[in-house]
């Protein structure tokens, strides 16, 4: 993923610090790619620290060690840079969740695995948690709509749970939307409370909450118990 800066995945992602001066032997494409990655990482970092509205392009270019002129070679403005970071995280999460669910035997366990993977990812990446879950609602209308689209893109995977019911159509059409909204709201509360690293603790409650409409309370509670940390 392009927006990560930490040492943990440094070898995988490449260093995101400024390029060495002088003759570094990098192609123009490599330089642009490095700049873009650093700008995305800086956007996540600055927004996490100050919030979207208070973050300026000056903050971002300074943190990325990129000139303002170079910033505008990549993005039209702050909103475009934020959206690029948001989409990079979204793409990464999609890959992560696909990997987490692939080996699961059935839909209920796939749902639990997806929830676990998402919570663990955001707990390990608090800046990205804030960028993806907290800021979009109050940033700009365009960002809020993009966030909304990302949430709605999760609906089909959750709606597969209707096959667990005798009459899956008995659930209101907006059920998945409500469940996703509730899950996001719970995660957001933890992040705003400064407890991002504790997000995985929400897993049992989220499992019970999101799966009960499809599996009934008894089965959902059993799965929530399985998901409880030992």
């Amino acid at each position: 993923m392009a927006v990560e800066r930490g040492d943990r995945r440094g070898a995988e992602l490449g260093e995101l610090g400024p390029l060495p001066g002088g003759h570094h032997g990098l192609s123009r494409e490599q330089i642009l790619e490095s700049q873009r990655e650093r700008l995305l990482a800086a956007m996540a970092e600055e927004v996490a620290a100050k919030g979207y509205r208070a973050t300026t392009i000056t903050d971002v270019v300074k943190a990325a060690s990129v000139s303002t002129r170079d910033f505008y070679e990549h993005f039209d403005g702050k909103e475009a840079c934020f959206l690029a970071a948001f989409e990079a995280v979204r793409d990464h999460l999609e890959t992560l969740l696909a990997g987490a669910t692939a080996s699961q035997p059935d839909w209920p366990h796939q749902a639990v695995a997806a929830l676990r993977a998402a919570l663990e990812f955001f707990a390990a990446e608090p800046d990205l948690a804030r960028l993806c879950l907290v800021e979009p609602v109050s940033a700009t209308p365009t960002i809020a709509i993009r966030f909304r689209e990302a949430v709605l893109a999760c609906v089909p995977a959750l709606a597969l749970g209707r096959a667990e019911l005798e009459d899956g159509d008995s659930l209101p059409e907006s059920t998945e939307d409500s469940l996703l909204g509730g899950a996001i709201s719970l995660a957001t509360r933890s992040i705003l409370a400064g407890e991002t690293e504790l997000l995985p603790d929400l897993l049992p409650s989220l499992v019970e909450f999101t799966l009960s409409p499809y599996l009934g309370t008894e089965r959902a509670v059993a799965l929530a118990s399985e998901a409880r940390p030992t």
Binding site: R148, S174, S178, R189, F209
Partner: protein, 133 residues
């Protein structure tokens, strides 16, 4: 924050006023949810924290329902309160204004009632008309 405590914004004050004359939990929750919807009106600002907390408090009273499973915690109410506010806000963002209350609120009531009162009671919420303004 409870429904009877003071609030920091005029809109929250209006929304969080405890529904008068409604004894049962579902009726009070329904009245509060419609009040929140009507309070948001034409604006598309996210519900304020007090509004969400007040709604969460009321939803959480569902745990006292005889049908409520003992495993439920306040976290369920927090999720449901967040879901209701999320839906209302994004309905406004998506459409430019809130969807008609008769389309938006009953499914939200279904979701809110389901964990505490079960599927039959939740399904009833889809057929109950909006309270008068």
């Amino acid at each position: 924050m409870g429904f009877t405590e003071s609030s920091t914004t005029p809109s929250a004050t209006a929304t969080l006023a405890p529904p008068v004359g409604l004894d049962d939990w579902r009726s009070r929750l329904r009245a509060a949810t419609y009040a929140l919807y009507r309070d948001l009106g034409e604006g598309s600002a996210p519900p304020v924290e007090d509004e969400i907390e007040g709604l969460v408090d009321l939803i959480d009273e569902g745990r006292a329902e005889p049908t409520a499973p003992p495993t439920l915690t306040r976290v369920t109410a927090e999720a449901l309160g967040g879901a209701i506010c999320h839906e209302m806000f994004f309905s406004a963002v998506r459409e430019g204004s809130l969807s008609p209350e008769s389309e938006l609120v009953p499914p939200l009531m279904y979701a809110a009632v389901l964990p505490y009162a079960g599927a039959a009671s939740a399904a009833e919420e889809l057929r109950i008309p909006a309270p008068p303004r």
